[in-house]
């Protein structure tokens, strides 16, 4: 474990825990953004430049903004009264640990774990682009069509509301 990984791991864990436990929702969203940045740092450290930079571009630049806007538009950022933890919090922790234990057991005993550590592939952005534009062109196009259709659908739904309001 290198020093850089230790710093990034600590950053991710601390900000993720803060994102779950802080009272103010906007603070939670900002902590989540810090966790996203930490994850992007981990990807970059693993040599996956494209994934790391896309992580920042999409999650910090778009998803985090979407979350804070959703919070602002639906409710105030101030925490409401009442307890933060539900009465069955301990039970939840126990169930989560049990699920983790089962998953861990299954994964360590599976064929994937016995395969050993593979040598890290050297994938550049150019290679990724080549693959996407040659071998995986059909899935890419289908995906693009699907996303475009979804976007146009969203725009049409928004338009109809506007007309009925008039």
């Amino acid at each position: 474990m290198t020093l850089a990984f230790a710093i990034l791991a600590a950053l991710i864990v601390v900000s993720a825990v803060a994102a779950m436990t802080l009272r103010n929702l906007v603070h939670c969203a900002l902590c989540l953004a810090v966790a996203f940045i930490g994850l992007a740092g981990t990807y970059l450290q693993l040599g996956a430049q494209f994934v790391g930079l896309s992580q920042v571009l999409v999650y910090v630049g778009a998803v985090a903004i979407l979350i804070v806007f959703a919070i602002l538009l639906t409710r105030s950022g101030e925490p409401g009264p009442g307890r933060q933890f539900s009465a069955t919090a301990l039970m939840g922790v126990a169930i989560a640990l049990a699920v983790f234990a089962v998953l861990g057991k299954v994964i360590t005993s599976s064929a994937v774990a016995k395969r050993g550590v593979l040598p890290a592939p050297q994938t550049s952005v150019a290679q990724l682009g080549q693959k996407l534009m040659t071998d995986y062109i059909l899935p890419l196009e289908v995906l693009a069509l699907l996303l475009t259709a979804a976007m146009i659908g969203a725009v049409i739904i928004a338009l109809k509301e506007k007309e009925s309001a008039k």
Partner: protein
């Protein structure tokens, strides 16, 4: 000393310092020292350019508005006035010693972090800009992607500033700023796609290499590149919140937008971040479309490459000041219409045009085809949008 040696003087200097320090420092420290040596000039030069720009901007705006602009402050305790170029030192001292007012209800931590969260990504963006030959602090394989990734992180800092101030004008300004930045990020990124397709790389240094050998090799000298360059300029102006796209801080409507509640040095940091963002965006425009650090004529390559970069940057800065002095501010609906109905379709067309340019044989036919591919949709689109607005000749009714 040869021209080549003067061009590479900073690289030589860095290697000399590293070689001199090597016997005294442990091995694991050397990469860090090397990084610090690469970063320090960026941290020194660009804030200085910012400081000078504040004076130049006020002087040029003054000239446009028929007044002298700052012309008094020179060297303290002497009568030397330097034509007002001492102004930025006085401004800096003022910002440092001013009281830092934080609203009582403000979210103190987020309020404190917002200017920092703005300046750090903006400074990071400089690490991939090739300032001169062999002078890219961080030559990443995906440099352009890195630039846009860190650029998109600034939106969150704008939100932090606007939300934590607990001020309706600040929040309104932040909302406007984010809506604008999100909308114009799309044409900004799309306008660079043509260049990336043509050079086949995302590395900023390689994109500059592809434009060597005179201004007719620059991407802005091709029809698709010219169109993409203009779309990039418009989107960059909007992304940097400059007039005519300065709605987020429209002082006549919402005081100062998201940094209304900032004073003293935190305000100076916002100011710095905004201008550094503009310079970084200009730097990217120079890199992608205007040949980076290359001289416009091969004969002029004797002049060091970094001088060419800063000359081009100076032209960009003067251009943005000129825009600010002459254009009125857009309205919110005009801003959004321009981005989604005009810029996005046109950037998509330039991408297709760039593809056609790539696969046709060089010659006059290619030039004409690609030009027509851009000019015809441009005319049709602007004509359709103009008619759709229902604007005709203004008619007046008088009391009879």
């Amino acid at each position: 000393m040869s021209a080549e040696a003067i061009d590479q003087i900073f690289i030589t200097l860095k290697h000399a310092i590293l070689g001199w320090l090597a016997p005294y420092l442990p091995d694991w420290l050397m990469p860090i020292v090397s990084a610090v040596l690469s970063i320090t000039p960026i941290l020194m030069v660009f804030p200085l350019v910012f400081a000078l720009t504040t004076v130049v901007e006020r002087k040029v705006l003054g000239r446009i508005q028929n007044r002298p602009g700052p012309n008094r402050v020179g060297i303290p305790l002497t009568n030397i006035r330097l034509a007002g170029f001492g102004q930025f030192i006085a401004d800096g001292i003022k910002a440092l010693i001013k009281e830092d007012v934080v609203p009582r209800n403000a979210d103190k931590v987020v309020h404190f972090l917002a200017p920092i969260a703005l300046v750090i990504p903006v400074l990071l963006a400089y690490s991939v800009l090739p300032i001169g030959k062999n002078m890219t602090a961080l030559d990443l394989d995906s440099g352009v992607l890195f630039f846009f990734a860190v650029g998109s992180a600034t939106e969150l800092s704008v939100f932090m500033a606007g939300w934590s101030s607990r001020n309706k004008y600040a929040l309104l300004g932040a909302m406007r700023a984010i809506a604008q930045m999100v909308s114009y990020e799309l044409p900004l990124v799309l306008s660079t796609v043509g260049v990336i397709m043509m050079t086949g790389t995302l590395s900023t240094a390689k994109i500059v290499d592809a434009q060597a050998g005179g201004f007719w090799h620059w991407h802005a000298a091709t029809p698709w590149g010219f169109a993409a360059f203009f779309l990039f300029l418009i989107a960059a102006t909007a992304e940097a919140n400059r007039t005519p796209f300065d709605l987020p801080e429209a002082e006549s409507e919402i005081i100062a937008g998201y940094f209304t509640e900032y004073s003293g040095f935190k305000f100076a940091l916002f100011f710095l971040g905004e201008y550094l963002g503009l310079f970084a965006m200009s730097g990217l425009g120079i890199t992608l479309f205007l040949g980076g650090w290359h001289a416009p004529l091969p004969a002029l390559e004797v002049v060091p490459s970094w001088i060419w970069f800063f000359l081009k940057l100076g032209v960009f800065i003067l251009f943005f000041i000129w825009l600010r002095g002459t254009f009125p501010r857009l309205r919110m609906d005009q801003l959004m219409n321009l981005a989604w109905k005009f810029m996005v379709p046109l950037t998509l067309i330039t991408i297709v045009a760039a593809g056609v340019w790539r696969f046709m044989d060089p010659g006059a036919t290619r030039c004409l085809t690609v030009t027509a591919m851009i000019v015809v949709p441009y005319l049709l689109l602007s004509n359709a949008l103009y008619t759709a607005r229902g604007v005709g000749k203004r008619t007046y009714r008088y009391a009879e």
